[in-house]
């Protein structure tokens, strides 16, 4: 009987006979079985995920995040829009504002839709202030399709005011130093100019005080509707045109559409309230007493904060305009 050709490589069957082939094949099978038997008694390599967490490589990429710079005490997004422009997935939305007394522009809104993002990293490459980085989110999951729009400014909202304050002072100092240098160069003219500027700086600081009160007044306003309606309802009831669209995009819906949805929305809301309450707690511990709220609904709170910050910003802008007008006169 000739050797079976289909079981072996061509050429091999010419050297060996039928039985020799069989025996050789049998021993190769045994060697294979020896490998699996050895592994049967070795320790598994499994990472028991929910209990053990992976050590992520430094090259690991996930959704982008804002860098927290130590010397600034905050992020350094100047809302230059370069990341928005370069993003191939249209997943970034940024808005910024120029604050009075602060030299650089400042982001007032930074949204990333992680569901659209393909982690290409172009935004990080293009960022002029290097305030973008990859985050280490790796196991985010949701029952809802729209849960992956991250508000990157959220952790910075509380510190925003302090940062602005500091920045204002720093900028003023810088300006002063500049002026001093200018003074040293040109004494006669410099004296007049420095006085003028100093006045201006004082005025700005004076204006700060009444301003600081305003947000506090605004806050209860934001809270009032939230007390009645559960969670996500808050921004909608609050101000339909608000920037809160980031968190609850529904708010932008046309009035009739919102009404049409209302009956449908009723039912599941009841189910979601408890979940929202449960999840809100670990979400973000609030260190600042001024922003600590009786209601621990973090999302609504942050919305209200953004709201308040925006109002403040608006008022400042108006004041700045008025000042400019006054100066112009």
């Amino acid at each position: 009987m000739s050797a079976d050709t289909s079981l072996v490589a061509p050429g091999a069957e010419k050297k060996r006979g039928y039985l020799a082939l069989l025996v050789a094949g049998f021993f190769t099978l045994l060697s294979g079985m020896w490998v699996t038997l050895k592994n049967l008694f070795r320790k598994p390599v499994t990472l028991r995920y929910p209990r053990e967490r992976p050590e992520l490589s430094t090259a690991f990429r996930s959704a982008i995040d804002l860098v927290d710079f130590e010397e600034l005490g905050s992020h350094d997004c100047v809302a230059c829009m370069q990341c928005v422009n370069i993003c191939p997935s249209f997943c970034i939305q940024v808005e910024g504002q120029k604050y009075d007394g602060v030299k650089r522009k400042r982001a007032t809104k930074f949204l990333v839709d992680y569901a659209l993002c393909s982690v290409c990293g172009l935004c990080i490459d293009v960022c002029p202030t290097e305030t973008l980085k990859y985050s280490k989110i790796y196991d985010e999951v949701s029952f809802e399709r729209d849960a992956f729009v991250f508000d990157l400014l959220e952790p910075f909202v509380e510190r925003e005011e302090a940062f602005l304050e500091g920045q204002r002072i720093a900028d003023a100092k810088e300006a002063e130093e500049k002026k001093k240098k200018a003074e040293a160069a040109k004494k006669a003219k410099a004296a007049v100019a420095a006085k003028k500027k100093a006045d201006g700086g004082e005025e700005a600081e004076k204006a700060e005080k009444p301003k600081a009160e305003k947000p506090k007044a605004a806050k209860p306003k934001a809270e009032a509707p939230k007390a009645e309606a559960p969670k996500a309802e808050a921004p909608r009831a609050d101000e339909p045109k608000a920037e809160a669209e980031a968190e609850a995009p529904k708010a932008e819906a046309d009035a009739p559409k919102a009404e049409a949805d209302a009956p449908k929305a009723d039912e599941p809301k009841a189910g979601k309230v408890d979940k929202a309450a449960v999840e809100a707690k670990p979400a973000e511990p609030k260190p600042k007493a001024a922003f600590a709220k009786p209601d621990s609904d973090a999302k609504a709170a942050s919305l209200a904060r953004i709201e308040a910050a925006k109002k403040r910003a608006l008022e400042k802008k108006k004041q700045a305009e008025q000042q400019a007008e006054g100066e112009g006169e």
Partner: protein, 222 residues
């Protein structure tokens, strides 16, 4: 609100916020009214046997057999999740069944092209109920990087085809994310909750704490 302009035309702004557009149009996902009604009826049965139902739900939750079914790159991560390092089988979800008749959960792992759509729908219809769907990766949530105005090639999200229970973002998500998704689905099943058509209530982030407590931490200084 006269904030500084976004620097882009309105059409790009719209593209940047597809969720907003969808909301504004009140897009009801994918389900026909009949399907919706059927699902609602399933969600609230006429008579309840609580103990039995809890038992069955626990059994179903711990025996989620996925369909061997990969669409694109995310499928590689799905395979990795079943392999030695991550081992989906620990949770009883490692029995990848080749036949839709024997599967419980469909993991959408990859871009859903227009051509694949009918096939997916057929496979989904072949699965015996109760069945669940997991959308894995950005493409299956809402189109991901392939989504742009006037695109013609893909379905913008798995929920255009079937009711999705759990969404896992990422491009692609790590195997841990898939395991987390399976665990969340188990919680959902154990709680006796069925899919209900999206009500556009707004985002409910589940793993927000996870995000802030990521291993390397968020507090990078310098």
């Amino acid at each position: 609100m006269a904030l500084n302009g976004a620097g882009k035309g309105p059409e790009l702004k719209e593209a940047a916020q597809p969720a907003l557009i969808k909301k504004a149009q009140g897009a009801p996902g994918t389900l026909s009214e009949r399907e919706e009604a059927q699902l609602m009826a399933e969600a609230e049965p006429f008579v309840r046997f609580h103990l039995l139902e809890d038992l069955l739900n626990a059994a179903r939750a711990n025996s989620l057999w996925p369909l061997t079914f990969g669409l694109a790159c995310c499928a590689i991560e799905m395979m990795a999740a079943g392999a030695a390092k991550y081992d989906l089988d620990r949770f009883g979800a490692g029995v990848f069944r080749p036949s839709a008749r024997q599967a419980d959960v469909m993991i959408f792992a990859g871009t859903i092209s227009r051509k694949m759509g009918p096939v997916i729908k057929a496979l989904w219809d072949q699965m015996p109920s109760p069945k669940w769907a997991i959308a894995m990766g950005g493409c299956t949530i809402d189109g991901g990087p392939f989504k742009y105005p006037n695109q013609y090639a893909i379905y913008e999200g798995a929920d255009k085809l079937v009711p999705v229970d759990v969404y896992i973002p990422g491009c692609p998500p790590r195997p841990e994310a898939l395991i987390n998704g399976i665990l969340e689905l188990q919680n959902k099943i154990k709680a006796g909750r069925r899919f209900k058509p999206s009500t556009h209530e707004g985002p409910i982030p589940i793993a927000k704490a996870e995000r802030t407590n990521a291993p390397t931490g968020r507090k990078v200084k310098g």
